[in-house]
């Protein structure tokens, strides 16, 4: 980034930045520090440990990583495994894959088809999450749902999506919900490719796949990496599947964000244990965000 001269002295800048700094310190930095401290206590919302939480050392972490039970449904290891499948299926394959396909199909094209497709994909992204959860419950319904009507017509059968295939359901749902981001990012990135590269390839008779492999992919590698890191980060934290399945049936869609919610905000409201889960989640977020920042920095430098 080029450095421009300052218009005002630094003291004025500090005044302009103070409100934002207050928000960042109170609602981002403080919670980050506080959650570490909380994770070593047995703080709850109700009962004797609510006003006077005790220091319990690494107890919460030992309970999370207890090798005898952590892979059972409804435990931390199982939630991590479900989350990994959810991220790979819905973000890396579903959203990034469809986003790239759509962006590529409409590369250097304008017109009604593009407008219709882009608008529908964006609508899925911006409609309030509770509304899309309701429409998806209707869409996936075993008896009346549109999906099963279509599948029945083409003779594939009628799976009971939310009951028998809950994980596939939330993967399909989240692919639908979030494709817009990757689509917009990739279509913006494709516009930065000089048309002459593509025209030259066309003159020498390159196939679509060759153009993708030899021109688009190498030039877009940075954008692809950015996209994959960001959607992984967001999908890892997303809470919307809760509105579709509540984590069930039988905890089979309990991703880590839902597991945290259930531990800290339902039942016994175990904030101490919830904090230890939050610490692990934030450390994973931190790793992803550092990779993201490092990748931007490296590209800026070159």
């Amino acid at each position: 980034m080029e450095r421009k001269h300052a218009i005002f002295p630094a003291r004025v800048g500090i005044i302009f930045l103070t409100p934002a700094l207050l928000f960042v310190v109170v609602f981002l930095l403080y919670p980050f520090v506080r959650v570490f401290l909380l994770s070593f206590t047995n703080q709850t919302l109700l009962g004797t440990t609510a006003p006077n939480p005790e220091f319990v050392g690494l107890d919460n972490y030992q309970r999370l990583f207890d090798p005898d039970r952590w892979m059972r449904l409804g435990e931390f290891g199982s939630a991590l495994k479900i989350t990994a499948q959810f991220v790979v299926g819905s973000a890396l394959i579903g959203q990034a894959g469809m986003g790239m396909l759509i962006a590529w199909a409409f590369y250097r094209k304008r017109g009604v088809l593009r407008e219709v497709v882009f608008t529908l994909v964006i609508l899925a992204w911006i409609i309030p999450e509770t509304v899309v959860a309701f429409t998806w419950v209707a869409f996936l319904d075993w008896e009346f749902g549109t999906l099963n009507s279509v599948l029945d017509t083409i003779g594939v059968g009628r799976p009971d999506w939310l009951f028998d295939r809950p994980l596939q359901s939330i993967i399909l749902f989240n692919s639908w919900r979030g494709t817009a981001f990757s689509m917009l990012l990739f279509s913006g990135a494709l516009e930065t490719i000089p048309p002459s590269y593509v025209e030259t390839a066309e003159v020498v008779g390159a196939t679509a796949w060759q153009k993708f492999r030899d021109i688009f992919f190498p030039l877009l590698r940075g954008h692809i990496l950015t996209d994959l890191i960001l959607i992984t980060l967001w999908t890892f934290n997303v809470f919307t599947p809760f509105l579709l399945t509540g984590g069930g049936p039988a905890k089979r869609t309990e991703v880590v964000s839902i597991y945290t919610y259930r531990t800290a905000f339902m039942g016994r409201h175990e904030f101490g244990k919830g904090s230890s889960i939050a610490v692990v989640m934030m450390l994973i977020n931190l790793a992803l965000a550092l990779i993201y920042l490092a990748s931007i920095r490296r590209r800026r430098a070159t």
Binding site: P9, F32, R34, P128, F134
Partner: protein
């Protein structure tokens, strides 16, 4: 037909088929939201109502609790977040753009890093206790402040693109004429970045409008619940939804988002505003 024409025709047909499949996948889950509200016998199926009627909307209108959620609570929360995010982000990005505050680069780095790290349900655990200590549980203020904190970093990046793109000469001229820094900001810079402020404000409003997690954790009394949570009032105790009312309510709840999308698309073109750069 020569082979070149043949290939171009084939490419068009393929693109058309591809568009139909993608469009169908993205629109079919939404069809229920368009048909059910106008059908007094709506179930989970997508059926075009034989007698389209507004009776469902009338019944929703009579549900005082749900109406207050939509027309009072959502507007207070959305409006509060919109004003705070747009105001604070505009000031901050102006400061970042026009002065050399020591440690500026570190600040930007921390902003990107922690806005991604402290998010979602993980952040809600310490934030709940913080809001509890501040005595702001079950208040609009608590919800508005927490949402503002979460949206602010992205808003600053969106805003910075707009501010970096406006020329500085007017501000410098005003300074030479002896205007104070506050006046330069308010009377010279602000009118020029107005499109940016509008985009950030709409973006913040839409985010607050649809939010579920934060109000569900921080609010207690039914009177203050926003529409995302009030939607569940159309479920019976046994957990079965009243689909006619639920669909009509969801429809009303979605309209503002669609209208704002159309406005942004028409005025500015829907695209990425800042933040995401490769």
């Amino acid at each position: 037909m020569n082979s070149f024409l043949m290939r171009s025709w084939l490419a068009r047909a393929l693109l058309f088929a591809f568009s139909v499949i993608i469009a169908a996948f993205f629109v079919t889950p939404l069809l229920w939201l368009i048909t059910a509200p106008f059908n007094t016998q709506a179930n989970l199926a997508v059926t075009i109502p034989s007698n389209p009627s507004l009776a469902n909307f009338e019944a929703v209108y009579n549900n005082k609790f749900a109406m207050r959620a939509l027309f009072q609570n959502n507007l207070i929360i959305g409006g509060g977040v919109m004003v705070l995010v747009a105001g604070v982000a505009t000031m901050a990005s102006y400061g970042l753009s026009r002065t050399h505050v020591p440690g500026r680069d570190v600040l930007v780095y921390v902003l990107i890093l922690f806005s991604s790290v402290v998010s979602g349900t993980a952040a809600m655990v310490p934030i709940f206790l913080l809001v509890f200590r501040l005595g702001l549980i079950d208040t609009y203020a608590g919800v508005i402040l927490v949402m503002t904190g979460g949206l602010l970093p992205s808003a600053i990046f969106i805003m910075r693109d707009f501010i970096d793109s406006i020329p500085r000469s007017y501000e410098e001229a005003a300074l030479v004429c002896g205007a104070s820094s506050l006046r330069v900001f308010r009377d010279v810079a602000l009118p020029m970045v107005r499109p940016g402020v509008v985009v950030v404000a709409i973006w913040a409003f839409v985010n607050a409008w649809g939010a579920f997690l934060i109000p569900s954790v921080l609010l207690r009394s039914p009177d203050r619940m926003p529409a995302s949570i009030a939607s569940y009032s159309f479920y019976t105790e046994a957990g079965t939804p009243n689909l006619t009312l639920l669909s009509a309510y969801a429809f009303l709840y979605t309209i503002p988002v669609l209208v704002l999308y159309l406005i942004v698309n028409w005025r500015f073109g829907f695209r990425f505003f800042g933040g995401i750069k490769s």
